[in-house]
């Protein structure tokens, strides 16, 4: 009889939906007003966007220029090389998922099925065929990894180490004009392909540089410390675009007259130098989080300074900051857009080429909305997948 449950709530609050509405949307007069304003904004925004997207927008500009947006002016007869390179990455992804993330089924299915899902979009027959092959390759890789996880582990790591050189080699080609894979000049690389390469090269090469700078900043040697601090603060104090311009205009001046480097490489150097300074600060955060006892224990075991760093401190510090590194990776991905300003034909730069065609004048909204969508899906996808994998693998926790 004295149970609290025996007292029924007022009639108006008995129904679940009504109670929820009252608690969450109409708690007070102010709340109710806010709800109504919010609802109007949502209605207005959704209606405006849908009306535009389905009645006004001319999406042919996207479907007709899909190839430009994806790979720029890359020669059509050599596109197969890119698909093979992608297939290699897909195979490795399948392998790795089966070996290290066995239980994250959702992530696995999402990653392996995404090419096949993309094939549902109107890309034309040839890309569709390749996209399905990509998915199949991924599944085969996954199956192989699943059956022999122990034996394959090391080979897969080696595969990842080799993946970037292989990808660049396949993209660039390596035989003279009449061979099977003629060399494709970097001036023909473009679209998402160029954005992807700039991002990956930028992050990979800035990583060792960033770690060195972070170590330098925490070093006890005054000269090294001062040099690191100066570099990091100088780079963090100026916009990326000035560094990209410096790389484009001044790098050729810095080098001996007989050395020439092409524009894509210059942009890569700029992005690497820029990203290294930010990465150094992230790594420093990780280093600071390692308790002093770890250093002392390593010393007690007779390890010298370098050994302590490489075997004890860095593995723990880097593991701690993996989520931050993913954020940095996404930031670099978004920042590569700036190479369009120095005249490269990346995802943003190629938009100008698309819009310069007489058939598609004045369709800026469609093109830039689509490009924003690519950036959004890839950035959001990366952060979402990394969060899921971190949870599954317990990364970042000790």
């Amino acid at each position: 009889m004295t149970q609290a449950n025996s007292v029924l709530p007022p009639l108006a609050e008995r129904s679940g939906i009504l109670r929820w509405l009252r608690k969450n949307l109409f708690g007070s007069w102010l709340d109710a007003a806010l709800t109504i304003i919010g609802a109007i904004i949502i209605y207005w925004a959704i209606k405006g966007f849908l009306t535009w997207a389905f009645t006004v927008a001319e999406w042919e500009v996207i479907s007709a220029n899909m190839r430009l947006i994806m790979i720029g002016q890359y020669p059509l007869e050599q596109v197969g090389q890119l698909w093979i390179a992608l297939g290699f990455l897909m195979f490795l992804t399948g392998n790795s998922l089966a070996i290290w993330a066995r239980k994250s089924y959702f992530t696995t299915i999402l990653l392996l099925a995404s090419p096949a899902l993309l094939a549902l979009l109107p890309f034309g027959d040839d890309p569709r065929k390749w996209l399905i092959i990509l998915s199949v390759t991924g599944v085969i890789g996954w199956g192989m990894g699943w059956s022999k996880p122990e034996a394959l582990g090391r080979i897969v790591i080696l595969g990842w180490v080799l993946s970037l050189p292989v990808f660049i080699l396949l993209t660039r080609g390596f035989t003279p004009e009449d061979g099977i894979m003629p060399i494709v000049g970097t001036n023909l690389w473009g679209g998402l392909l160029l954005t992807f390469l700039l991002t990956v090269v930028g992050i990979l090469f800035s990583f060792p540089l960033g770690v060195l700078l972070a170590l330098g900043r925490r070093s006890e040697l005054p000269v090294i410390r001062l040099a690191s601090i100066t570099y990091i603060e100088l780079v963090r104090g100026v916009p990326l675009i000035t560094i990209l311009f410096m790389a484009q205009l001044m790098l050729p001046l810095f080098l001996p007259p007989n050395v020439t480097i092409d524009r894509v490489l210059r942009a890569m150097v700029g992005i690497t130098l820029f990203s290294a300074a930010y990465l150094a600060e992230n790594v420093r955060g990780g280093l600071q989080a390692i308790p002093k006892g770890q250093f002392e224990a390593a010393q007690a075991l007779g390890l010298n300074g370098a050994q302590t760093m490489v075997f004890i401190i860095l593995p723990q510090a880097l593991r701690l900051i993996i989520p931050i590194l993913v954020g940095q990776f996404i930031a670099v991905f978004k920042d590569t857009a700036l190479v369009a300003i120095v005249g490269l034909f990346d995802l943003v730069g190629i938009a100008k080429t698309v819009l310069a065609q007489p058939d598609f004048l004045g369709l800026q909204r469609e093109v830039y909305v689509f490009i924003s969508l690519i950036y959004w899906v890839l950035s959001y996808g990366m952060s979402y997948l990394s969060q899921r994998l971190e949870e599954k693998l317990g990364v970042g926790k000790r």
Binding site: G38, G237, V238, L249, Q364
Partner: protein, 393 residues
């Protein structure tokens, strides 16, 4: 015997860490200067081939190009240096407007994200997720090409209440024109400002002395408003003439016309940065423990007092450092003005460099300028951070 023991006790110098450290640094310095001098020699040789010697003297030369938006007198016969100053002022304008607007909008977003109202909360969360995963450059270009240049022609202008004219030539807003009595009115405003400051310090010292909490900010604001209003009505004629934009033929006249470039740059920067500031504000407010609010309530403070006296002062300590870096990001990102054609300092320096061929000088000047901006901002924010820091006993 003794000598050999002595030898064993001293480490040979190539294994002595102290000597190695010094040696390493010396080698580093020598290497650094070798590379630097190599780069310098290469650069000098390269520039000599182009017939250029490094010097900033060319800044006195005549620029010969026009700038669409100038806050100070400038014409194509002005010098490069004057052009650079125009750009500097434009960057400052965008930065100040951007910082203020994105702070206001960001705080609203952060509070909305914490709202108990389901709809508002979700709306803010959606906005944050949407913006934070976009590339700022694409966002800015979209606002420029996709929104502000797509507005109707001047003749078919969209007119919003309050005489705001939206056209593809810019956004016209009403603006005050200074009349003859304006200088006197400005004097009154300054007096009002000083009075308000006096009230502020008086009330604050009163609250420190007695422990009561008068509504300092409100009274300060009221003082200024009362003086300003009194000045406005005491004047024989109105000090500011209200001037709304009017469409005359193919042009807008009167009022103030904000160019599409300026609008695209500021709105893009503000919408983008405020999403990040919103996250910062949210995490700051969340960092104040719930017990603090409950304790404030138990002491009899009302909702507003709780926010003003308990939550915000504590949240600010967490908010200020990341907020500083967002401000710095906004200032640095304003250099993307070049993508939408707004003549900020970077855009102008790029034009100068195309005109004069002085790449090294201009890039170093721009870098130094942005470094100065960053330095001043962080010094100011650090000073502010010191001031609001928890005083530990």
């Amino acid at each position: 015997m003794q000598e050999s023991a002595k030898q064993k006790a001293t480490i040979p110098f190539w294994r002595d860490e102290r000597i190695l450290n010094i040696l390493g640094q010396v080698v580093f310095i020598i290497g650094f200067f070798l590379i630097a001098s190599l780069i310098y020699q290469n650069m000098k040789a390269g520039l000599a081939k182009q017939g250029i010697t490094l010097s900033y003297g060319f800044l006195q030369g005549i620029s010969g190009f026009d700038i669409s938006e100038t806050l100070r007198p400038y014409s194509r016969t002005s010098s490069y240096w004057q052009a650079y100053q125009v750009g500097l002022l434009n960057t400052l304008t965008v930065s100040i407007v951007g910082v203020i607007a994105s702070t206001i909008f960001g705080v609203i977003l952060g509070v909305a994200r914490l709202s108990t109202n389901f709809l508002i909360n979700r709306l803010a969360a959606f906005y944050l997720e949407l913006i934070r995963n976009l590339s700022l450059l694409v966002f800015l270009i979209f606002w420029y090409l996709g929104v502000f240049l797509k507005l109707p022609k001047v003749r078919e202008a969209v007119i919003w209440p309050g005489s705001i004219y939206l056209t593809n030539r810019g956004v016209g807003i009403p603006w005050g024109l200074p009349a003859e009595s304006y200088p006197t009115f400005r004097l009154i405003l300054i007096v009002g400002f000083i009075l308000a400051l006096g009230v502020f310090f008086l009330l604050r010292s009163y609250s420190r002395r007695t422990g009561r909490a008068p509504l300092t900010i409100l009274w300060t604001f009221l003082t200024f408003t009362i003086v300003a209003l009194a000045g406005w009505f005491v004047m024989p004629e109105k000090p500011l003439l209200f001037d709304a934009p009017v469409i005359e033929g193919l042009n807008m006249t009167g009022g103030k016309v904000l160019s599409p470039e300026f609008m695209a740059l500021t709105s893009g920067l503000v919408l983008y940065t405020s999403a990040f500031i919103g996250e910062v504000v949210r995490s700051g407010i969340l960092s104040v423990s719930k017990g603090q609010v409950e304790a404030a309530r138990a002491l009899g403070l009302n909702g507003f007092q709780t926010l003003q006296l308990i939550v915000f002062p504590q949240a600010l300590r967490v908010i200020i450092p990341p907020l500083t870096s967002q401000y710095l990001n906004l200032i640095k990102n304003s250099s993307l003005a070049i993508a939408v054609g707004y003549p900020d300092v970077f855009y102008i320096s790029n034009t100068i460099q195309n005109q004069s061929g002085r790449a090294v000088e201009m890039i170093s000047m721009v870098m130094l300028t942005y470094l100065m901006f960053s330095l001043v901002t962080s010094v100011f924010m650090n000073w502010y951070n010191q001031r609001i820091k928890l005083v530990e006993r």
